[in-house]
C-alpha cells in the first residue's frame, strides 16, 4: 500500500506451550507484516495457532522465539508494565465471548477503557455508542442486550481510545448471520473511516471477501499465498 506505515511486524515468531515435562510447539517461525489501515483475516482449522498468534500480537503473551514490533516499537525488550502500557494505548481487543463486565452498563463498559488510560469520558463514550447504533441503550447492562448488541458494545469499548490496532478473535463466532454481517459492516466502516488496522481471526470462509487480505494458517505456519 503506497506510503502506508507498518503497524505490525512479526519475524520468526515461535511459541510452544508446556514446561520441562513436555513442550508442545504451536507456532513455527511466523512472519507477518501488516500496514496501517489494512483489514487482515487469519483463517485456519482449530489448533493451528491463530489465537496464540493474536495473543502474541496483542502483547498478552510473550513468544518463545522471534520478534514482534507494534507501531515501530520492538516489544521483546519491554517489561510487563511496558507491554501493558503499549497494549492500553495502541491495541483494542474484541473477543468471541464479548467479555463485557456484567455489573456495568454499556456506557460504563465503554468508559472503562478510557478510565484505564487515565482519561475522562467527556463525550467520547456517547459518540462511539452512537456510531455503533446503541446510543439509546447506553444505560442497559449486558444481560439486557442481545448478543449482537453486546458485541457492538465490545467493539465500542475496543475503539473508544482510538487504538492503532484492533485484534478480533472470532468476533462473529457467537452471532447469527444477520448480526455477524452487522458486526463486520461496523468493523469495515471503522477500518475505512479511521484508518484502523484490523486483524481478525475467523473460521468462516464466507467472510473472506470483507478483508483486504486473507492469510491461511496451518500447523503454526502461514500457507504460501
Amino acid at each position: 500500500m503506497a506510503g502506508a506505515d507498518i503497524i505490525v511486524r512479526a519475524e520468526g515468531v515461535r511459541h510452544a506451550y508446556g514446561s520441562d515435562g513436555g513442550v508442545t510447539p504451536v507456532l513455527h517461525g511466523v512472519d507477518l507484516t501488516i500496514h496501517r489501515g489494512e483489514f487482515v483475516m487469519i483463517m485456519g482449522p482449530s489448533g493451528c495457532g491463530k489465537t496464540t498468534l493474536l495473543n502474541i500480537l496483542g502483547l498478552m503473551m510473550r513468544p518463545t522465539g522471534g520478534r514482534v514490533e507494534i507501531d515501530g516499537q520492538e516489544t521483546s525488550t519491554l517489561d510487563e508494565s511496558g507491554r501493558t502500557a503499549l497494549r492500553r494505548r495502541q491495541i483494542g481487543f474484541v473477543f468471541q465471548r464479548f467479555n463485557l463486565l456484567p455489573v456495568l452498563t454499556a456506557a460504563q463498559n465503554v468508559a472503562l477503557a478510557l478510565q484505564l488510560r487515565g482519561e475522562t469520558a467527556d463525550g467520547q463514550v456517547d459518540e462511539v455508542l452512537r456510531r455503533v447504533g446503541l446510543a439509546d441503550k447506553a444505560r442497559r447492562r449486558p444481560a439486557a442486550l442481545s448478543m449482537g448488541e453486546q458485541q457492538r458494545v465490545a467493539i465500542a469499548r475496543a475503539v473508544v481510545g482510538r487504538p492503532r490496532l484492533l485484534l478480533a478473535d472470532e468476533p462473529t463466532g457467537n452471532l447469527d448471520s444477520k448480526n455477524a454481517a452487522e458486526v463486520l459492516d461496523l468493523l469495515g466502516e471503522l477500518d475505512r473511516s479511521h484508518g484502523l488496522t484490523i486483524v481478525m481471526i475467523t473460521h468462516n470462509e464466507h467472510l473472506a471477501e470483507r478483508a483486504d487480505r486473507v492469510l491461511h494458517m496451518r500447523d503454526g505456519r502461514f500457507e504460501p499465498a
Partner: protein, 412 residues
C-alpha cells in the same frame, strides 16, 4: 474505577452488608470500650478535680483508684499544715479524707468520709437540693474531739451506740438518688449499721456518697485519727515573686508538690495531675482493652482479606478482561484495595453510629456509667478501619495483578 468498585459492591449486597457489619462490630467494640473506660475515668477525675484544693497527698506507691483504708496517721496532718516552701508557709488548708466503699444504686460506690467543716470545699458551690449536710453543728465531731488525748486517740467505748446511731448519716448526689430512687430520711445499711440519708447534693462533687469522718474513724479505726489521703489548699505565691506570673501557676503547684513529697515520703501530686494518675492506675485495664479490641479488629480484617481473596478468585475472568484492556498491576491492586476501603469506610461509619447508639443504651441501662466518645476516637477508628481494610486487601490485590491474562480469560 470507583464506578466498577461500587457496581461490584452493590451487585452482591448481602455479602457487602455482612462485610460492612463485621467491620462495624469491630469498630463499635473498640470505640465503646474506650468510651466506657475514658468516660468513667474522666468523670471521676472531673469530680475529684472539683474539690477546692490544689494538691493530693497519697501514700507512696499507692494506686489512686484502689486506695482504701487509712494509711496516714494523725501525726501527718500537722506536718502538712506546717510545711514551708522556699522559707514560707504555703499550706492554707489540709483536708483529711477516709475512703471506703458501699453498695448503693446497684453497684459499689466510693464513699468519702469528710469532716463536716470541710464539706464546703467538696461542694465547691454546689447546692444541697434536699435535706441538709450530715453532723449538723458538727455535734459528733465535737463530742469525739473532747475525748481525744494529746496524740489524738480516745477509748471508743466512751461513745455509746445511742450516741453513735444518730451520727450515722449519709449525703448522696442527685445522680445516685435518681438511679437508686433514694430519698431523704431513707435508711441504708453500711458496715452492718443503719445509716440515714439526710441530704442530697447536686452531682459533680468528688464522691457520690459522703459520711462524717469521725463516724467512719470511730467504726473502722476505733477512733484513731487515720485517713486515706489529704487534699491540700496551697496559698498563692507571694506577689512580685517569680512564681506569681500568671503562666506559672501550675509550675508553682508542681514545685510545692515535689518538695512536700520529699518531706512526707509520700506521693504528692497537683490536683491537675489527678487525671494522669487515674490513667496510670488503669494502665493494665487499658492494656486489656487494647488487646481485646485489637483482636476483634484483627478478626474483622481477616474477614475482609478472605472476602477479597474470594472475590479475586471469582473474578478471575474479569481480571483477564481488565488486563486485555490494558489494566496495569497497580491499577488491579488499587481496584481490589479500593473495594476493601469502601467496605471498611462504610463499616467504620456504621460502627461509629453503633457506638453512639450503644452509648445511649448503656447510659440508659446504667445511669451511673458515663461513656465519653472523644473526637480522637473517631479519628483513630477511621484511620484503623480504612488502613486496616486497605492492608487486608493487598495480598488478594497482588494475587490478582499476577494472574496470566490469557489463562484468566479462559476461565468460565
Amino acid at each position: 474505577m470507583l464506578t466498577l468498585a461500587l457496581a461490584h459492591l452493590l451487585h452482591r449486597r448481602l455479602r457487602t452488608a455482612l462485610c460492612v457489619l463485621a467491620v462495624a462490630i469491630g469498630i463499635a467494640m473498640l470505640v465503646v470500650m474506650l468510651a466506657i473506660s475514658h468516660g468513667m475515668l474522666n468523670e471521676v477525675a472531673d469530680r475529684v478535680q472539683s474539690v477546692d484544693a490544689d494538691l493530693i497527698v497519697l501514700p507512696d506507691n499507692e494506686n489512686v483508684i484502689f486506695t482504701a483504708g487509712a494509711a496516714f496517721s494523725g501525726r501527718v496532718k500537722p506536718v502538712i499544715d506546717a510545711f514551708s516552701f522556699e522559707g514560707r508557709p504555703v499550706v492554707g488548708r489540709t483536708i483529711g479524707v477516709m475512703l471506703d466503699t458501699l453498695h448503693l444504686g446497684g453497684q459499689q460506690q466510693r464513699l468519702f468520709a469528710v469532716d463536716r467543716d470541710d464539706m464546703p470545699a467538696f461542694l465547691a458551690g454546689r447546692r444541697v437540693v434536699q435535706g441538709r449536710l450530715f453532723d449538723e453543728g458538727r455535734a459528733f465531731g465535737r463530742r469525739v474531739d473532747a475525748l481525744r488525748n494529746d496524740q489524738g486517740y480516745y477509748d471508743p467505748a466512751s461513745i455509746s451506740e445511742e450516741e453513735l446511731l444518730p451520727a450515722c448519716e449519709l449525703v448522696i448526689d442527685t445522680r445516685l438518688a435518681r438511679v437508686g430512687g433514694y430519698t431523704v430520711g431513707e435508711w441504708v445499711t453500711f458496715l452492718g449499721r443503719p445509716f440515714r440519708i439526710v441530704g442530697i447534693v447536686e452531682s459533680g462533687v468528688a464522691g457520690r456518697v459522703f459520711c462524717p469522718l469521725p463516724v467512719l474513724q470511730h467504726i473502722k479505726n476505733g477512733g484513731a485519727p487515720w485517713v486515706s489521703l489529704f487534699f491540700v489548699k496551697v496559698r498563692p505565691p507571694p506577689p512580685g515573686s517569680a512564681w506569681a506570673a500568671a503562666t506559672r501557676g501550675a509550675e508553682y503547684e508542681e514545685a510545692v508538690a515535689e518538695a512536700m513529697s520529699q518531706t512526707l515520703k509520700a506521693k504528692v501530686e497537683p490536683k491537675s495531675g489527678y487525671r494522669r494518675l487515674m490513667y496510670e492506675g488503669f494502665a493494665q485495664i487499658y492494656l486489656y482493652i487494647n488487646l481485646a479490641s485489637g483482636l476483634a479488629l484483627a478478626v474483622c480484617f481477616i474477614i475482609i482479606l478472605l472476602t477479597m481473596y474470594t472475590l479475586v478468585v471469582e473474578r478471575t475472568r474479569e481480571i483477564g478482561i481488565l488486563k486485555s484492556l490494558g489494566a496495569g498491576r497497580g491499577q488491579l491492586v488499587g481496584q481490589v484495595v479500593l473495594e476493601a476501603v469502601l467496605i471498611c469506610g462504610v463499616g467504620t461509619a456504621v460502627g461509629l453510629g453503633l457506638a453512639v447508639g450503644a452509648k445511649f443504651a448503656i447510659e440508659s441501662w446504667r445511669p451511673l456509667l458515663t461513656l465519653s466518645i472523644e473526637p480522637s476516637f473517631v479519628g483513630w477508628a477511621t484511620a484503623i478501619g480504612v488502613a486496616g481494610g486497605g492492608l487486608s486487601a493487598l495480598y488478594p490485590g497482588f494475587r490478582a495483578a499476577r494472574l496470566d491474562p490469557v489463562a484468566a480469560l479462559a476461565v468460565e
